[in-house]
Amino acid sequence: MTDIEEKALAAEIELLTFQVGKQEYALDIMSVREIRGWSKATPLPHAPAFVRGVINLRGTVLTIVDLANRLGMGRTETNERNVIIVVHTGKETVGLLVDAVSDILAINKTDLQAPPEMSADNNQTFVSSLIIVEERMIRILALAAALPSESMEAA
């Protein structure tokens, strides 16, 4: 690893911010593969409600997760402005259905705040940290927790 990379890692990360429901979320841009428009997904029988189905991503079968539904905000009504963020989590690639992509932010790691522990929200576990940008609170999505694999294993 070069010095420059090392410094960048220590200091800054880039985040992709997006709208889910009325809330603003962000993801480390390194885990984002691509952003594509909404296309109708083929539903999977007996799948949990937040799994919208599968789409054809250049010859591979990509699972689409309705992020709003996953975060407990109800099913996303899809229209042409919806966006699929294709993310990769080390072992699998999944598409996240969100309302819109907003911005790319470069932020200092030290500005990240740990979320307070509040057990009433069941979407709590999906937020790894918080950040304040221009008076707006942005939630950093805990990707591994939001993806269905672990929760499905019990099912």
């Binding site: 083929t42 999977l44 799994v51 599968v54 010859g59 499905m152």
Partner: protein, 749 residues
């Protein structure tokens, strides 16, 4: 880095690949011997396999392997000469020796440590068989790459009988080697330093014609004085070929300045051309140890027992390689120890070893081709061209070609299940020995070809099933005798193709499933509620439940906590199914049904509840349109339909997949009749049938685990994804509701 430059690495790798093949033919041979079908040829095959492994191992300095192979070979040699009778007992030792040999080969390959204790114990057993005869063995010790005839298979197929009928006829015409070349080859030590290997030169020469090689070991000093870096060996090679001297010299091109080489023989090809190098019409002569040039030495070696005395003599001569003059006086003596080195009883078909990755890439590309072809078909259809236009004709041809390419590529991946079955026979031997039962494996249909990936992923579940059969299936010897069966249990492993799938069966002739006991255990473990009423097959299927193990005591062998549920999920992951059939007193049969390939299938494209789905064609027996009086109510929520004289459960595919609630009326609906593995049928209601075509199987991500009722996905001509159904699974998990009334009467489960 230097590793990659070392040619020995590559040669060694190919030696290990060869070893695998040799071990396989060894297993085969032993199996035939075990079945009582052994003739001299079989014993020779076995002997040759061991000998070749030993030879190669010697070249690579794999001492442990050489030592073991040598002992094994010595015993087999005695068997070959008739000095030892291979009874059941001996053969079982041979099997174990084969296992050890395989272990040693593998541990040499992986540079791991082999189980010395087991090796020693089997070595002892071999020694016991060898008995007092073993004096000779010491003498044989040095015959490793000693005088031998390297010969190639000339495609000679003459049965023993033929030869025996005419034994005297050809005893005189053994030409000496004056007509060929005499090559004296003395390598410098620099030859070895540069990674050359005399064996490979000899092999090259072998390809030119009949070869007789004598190794001069007289230069070898005593062990104390030996300098391992020095070259002590030299070879005298007698070659009969129609190639001219330049061609022969060419063989040594790369080592010309690394050795002292003299070649004596005809300068031109003239006289040799007159003498045909191969005489395929000449039946091999054997009695006098004097084959004509081009004679097939393996045929010679595999002759009748009548010549054994003479042959033993020649072995003796060959064995004492320190006296090359003795050999030349006895020339030609290619028969015994040299010939089996290379020649095989059956001429191998030429093959190419290809990296599996390249094949997978090809398979993927063909998959893309199929999708692409579907897309073109769709656009042509949409363009509304007349059906006999040039485009449509060309497209038809294109489709045919695609299909042919498809089939050919799949054939590359297909492999006979034989290697898998051989591994299982070892499992049987080891596991039955461990628990003191006598069990033998019968295999059927081991030439059945299955996709390589399937074979690999089948090994673990099959091992488990075999162990189960030995441990739980077959009774103890005393129980067997009491039940009027022979003491030896039989586990049958069979493979075959049935309706587009591969069926593998593991059957034992044991006591069958003890159903009351199974039920009792299931209740004890809380897997099923007490007092539950279960049918026989439901009880049998309890074995597949997680956490079930019938062995009341945990034995060494199975019952380690991983049960049949692991087997079942492994097979499900392959797109397969496993069923169980048991007959009290007569044994248990597990049937695994697997898809032929993991890449493509012929499917029927159907619509149901606005979704496009693909149903594998081989599961559909027929399609029907329902008339009103075909449908009969069965329960409050279920219907059956009458198909000819039988009643078949009616299932609404849309409802079963959760896409919609059951329809009000099914009159006029289209149904697919699905064949289940047990021969029964079920009818699936669909909305429309679109097409029948080849689709490429795309795996669903593991994100959800397995989606029930869905085997995989595919990409249609319009780029949309369609799910490929596993209709048998849909049927198996169906709740069967085809009436939307009275939901409160819904059955539990």
């Amino acid at each position: 880095m230097s590793d990659e430059d070392d040619p020995m690495i590559e040669i060694k790798a190919s030696f290990f690949v060869e070893c695998e093949e040799l071990l396989e033919s060894l297993q085969d041979g032993l199996q035939i011997m075990d079945d009582g079908g052994a003739d001299d040829e079989i014993i020779n095959v076995v002997f040759r396999a061991v000998h070749s492994i030993k030879g190669g191992a010697g070249a690579f300095g794999l001492d442990q392997l050489v030592r073991f192979a040598h002992q094994f070979e010595s015993v087999l040699d005695r068997v070959r000469s008739g000095a030892i009778i291979a009874d059941r007992n001996a053969i079982s030792v041979f099997f174990r020796s084969g296992d050890i040999l395989a272990d040693l080969v593998r541990s040499a390959r992986d540079e791991a440590v082999a189980d010395e204790e087991r090796t020693q114990s089997v070595l002892k057993e071999l020694e016991t068989i060898l008995g007092h005869d073993s004096n000779d063995v010491v003498e044989d010790e040095i015959d490793d790459f000693q005088p031998m005839t390297l010969s190639m298979d000339l495609g000679l197929h003459i049965s023993n009988d033929e030869v025996l009928d005419t034994p005297e006829q050809f005893t005189t015409d053994a030409p000496a080697f004056e007509d060929g070349y005499t090559i004296n080859f003395v390598p410098d030590s620099s030859l070895y330093v540069s990674g050359n290997e005399p064996l490979h030169l000899l092999r090259l020469l072998r390809e030119m014609g009949q070869l007789n090689v004598t190794c001069d070991t007289s230069e070898i000093p005593s062990l104390a004085d030996i300098d391992v870096e020095k070259s002590y060996l030299s070879w005298t090679i007698q070659l009969t070929t129609d190639e001219d001297q330049d061609a022969v010299r060419e063989v040594f091109d790369f080592v010309a300045d690394l050795c002292t080489l003299t070649i004596n023989g005809p300068e031109s090809s003239g006289p040799m051309a007159a003498l045909p190098p191969t005489l395929p019409t000449l039946p091999p002569l054997t009695q006098q140890n004097a084959p004509p040039p081009g004679e097939e030495p393996s045929a010679t070696a595999t002759k009748d027992l009548g010549t054994l005395d003479t042959l033993s003599d020649s072995t003796h001569l060959l064995g004492s390689a320190t006296k090359p003059e003795a050999i030349s006086s006895a020339l030609p003596v290619p028969a015994k120890s040299g010939a089996p080195e290379i020649s095989k009883s059956v001429k191998p078909r030429p093959t190419v070893r290809v990296d599996l990755e390249r094949i997978d890439r090809l398979v993927n590309l063909v998959g893309e081709l199929v999708i692409n072809q579907a897309m073109i078909s769709q656009s042509v259809q949409e363009a509304d061209l007349s059906t006999n236009s040039a485009v449509s004709d060309g497209l038809d041809e294109f489709m045919q070609l695609t299909r042919d390419i498809q089939d050919s590529v799949m054939m590359i991946r297909a492999q006979p299940v034989k290697s898998l079955f051989q591994r299982m026979s070892r499992i049987i031997r080891e596991s039955s020995a461990m628990i003191g039962k006598s069990v033998r494996l019968k295999t059927e249909g081991d030439a059945t070809e299955v996709d390589k990936t399937v074979i690999e992923r089948l090994a673990d579940p099959l091992t488990h099933m075999i162990r189960n059969a030995v441990d739980h299936g077959v009774e103890s010897p005393s129980d067997r005798l009491a039940a009027g069966k022979s003491e030896e249990g039989i586990v049958t492993l069979s493979a075959g193709h049935r309706s587009g799938r591969v069926i593998i069966e593991v059957a034992d002739d044991g006591a069958g499933i003890n159903r009351p006991r199974v039920l009792q255990i299931a209740v004890e473990k809380g897997l099923v509620p007490e007092n539950v009423q279960l049918s026989d097959s439901e009880i049998d299927n309890l074995l597949f439940m997680p956490g079930f193990s019938t062995a009341s005591e945990v034995s060494d062998l199975s019952g380690r906590g991983v049960g049949m549920d692991v087997v079942k999920s492994a097979i499900l992951a392959l797109g397969g199914r496993v069923t169980i059939k048991s007959n009290p007193g007569n044994g248990t049969t597990f049937t695994i049904s697997l898809p032929l390939t993991l890449a493509v299938l012929d499917g029927m494209v159907i619509d149901v509840a606005q979704q496009t789905l693909v149903v594998p064609l081989n599961t559909i027996t027929e399609t029907l349109t329902l008339a009103e009086d075909d449908i009969r109510a069965l329960g409050p929520l279920t219907n059956v339909i009458k198909v000819r004289d039988t009643f078949v459960p009616l299932l609404d595919l849309g409802a079963e997949l959760g896409y919609r609630t059951p329809l009000d009326s099914y009159t006029g609906a289209i149904v697919l009749l699905i064949a289940r593995e047990d021969g029964s049928h079920a009818a699936l209601v669909v909305d429309a049938i679109q097409d029948q075509r080849q689709v490429v199987i795309k795996g669903l991500q593991d994100t959800f685990g397995r989606v029930p009722g869905v085997a995989a996905a595919t990409i249609l001509g319009d780029g949309k994804i369609a799910l490929i159904l596993d209709p048998v699974d849909v049927v198996a998990n169906a709740d069967g509701r085809t009436r939307s009334v009275q939901p409160n009467l819904q059955l539990a489960g």
